[in-house]
């Protein structure tokens, strides 16, 4: 069932130019330089420390590493991260 949904979603984004994050419920990450990262559509915070942020996504985890992290804003499905970012890593579960 879920796979079937994803296939339809894929078809939508490919043929109808629909934004992928809306159709497929995927996270949207916006970064400004290396000091702001705005992550929407995440599924919860798992770990946060001075140099690491780990978020749950629909399809796995997102790992951001860097230095002097501050969560500027935290809302149920949005996070604004401030600090010096070095690495964005997607981990499939």
């Amino acid at each position: 069932m879920k796979k079937w949904q994803q296939r339809i979603g894929n078809w939508f984004t490919e043929h109808l130019d629909m934004p992928a994050d809306v159709v497929l419920e995927l996270p949207r990450i916006t970064t400004i330089g290396h000091f702001h990262a705005y992550i929407e559509n995440h599924r919860g915070l798992i770990l946060f420390s001075d140099n690491e942020l780990r978020l749950r996504l629909n399809t796995g985890f997102l790992l951001i590493t860097g230095e002097s992290f501050v969560l500027k804003v935290m809302l149920p499905e949005e996070i604004l991260l401030e600090g010096k970012m070095k690495e964005f890593k997607f981990i499939e579960s």
Binding site: Y38, F48, S49, V70, L71, V73, M74
Partner: protein
Amino acid sequence: MKKHTQDIYFTGYVTVLIKGDRPELFFNQLVQEKVLVWDIVKKDNQTCEAKIRKQDISKLRMKRRGTGYKVQFRAKHGFPFLFTSILHKKPLLLGIFISILSIFLLSNTVWKIDIKGVSPELEHQIETQLDEYGVRLGAFKLTLGAPVDIQQRLLQDIPELLWIGVQEKGTTYALEGVPKTIVKEKEEPGPRHLVAKKKGVIVDMFVSEGVPQVGIHDYVEPGDVLVSGLIGKEPPVATEKEEAEKPEDTRKQVAATGNVIARTWYNVSVSVPLKETYTVLSGNQETKYAAQFGENFRVPFWGFGDSGYKDAQEQTSTRYLRFLRWKLPLGVTKTSEYERVSKQVKRTKEEARAQAVKLAKQDLQLQIGKESDIISQKILHETVENGKVKLILYFQVNEDIATSQPLSQGD
């Protein structure tokens, strides 16, 4: 994003410290409860610092229960906390209160009385009179009457004043007076005659300049020359032959001055009702004070209840408090009620007649002026009609009938 934090200063926010195992996960739960959390910093493995709004503190406490996390409040920010902190500083609060009170008091104090347009003596008189009313430097303005009242009382109490304008300009009373006796430089009258302004029989004459043309017991008509302004011999009437070489008028022209008292006559008709009702103020009065809020709302605080007057004349005046140069919608209203009584007078015919004569005399004296004398009076006709006594009176009056008439220059 910033939208959430812009007005946060006014609602207030706090910095909290969360202690426990993986403290960041606690924020996950908070966020599910729609609690706004920002500026999250991890201090060390066991502690996290964050900011939350003041109104979310209770939600935070509820969420914390039974989780094993420890919450510490570190700093309070924003207006509500600032406000309460000020409230706890008694001396500061007292100072603010005293300063506002003193500004308030000073704004309602008379600081200057400006009197213009009158002589120093009259100015002093006005000052003493004002002092009597309570209008003096340093007086509290609420207790004083309205400018219009002050104006009326001044006019009543100082007969030398023709008019006085009282204006309240903030903390200053500006008075502008016009004295009754304006000493005008007397104009040197030009050459003139004195002529009669009404008909009468001359009884007395006093001529300081000019040639009298009439004598005592002479009857004069209006326009008759009483005192001539031409002194000297009148040139003979030119005959037609002499017309060409008409002799020059050598008479000296002067301004005739003098008083010519003549007996004149007046017919005056008056009527006085036998029965008359009129209302007078009995002299009983009651004064009430009320606090005034805005234009229409007032709360009485002095003098309650009905005055019990059947008929009364009411007078209200409102004084508003001032703060610096603004008029506050707050003031004191003074309401004075004066009892009015209607009186009925019944007169006999004789009384009515006497009253009518008195009235007629008063009227006439007003008409002819203070300097003239009423010599005699006589009732010419008397009727009683519709409850009224109607009299036609005849008066004999001694008055000055001289009026000036300039000599025509062309002749």
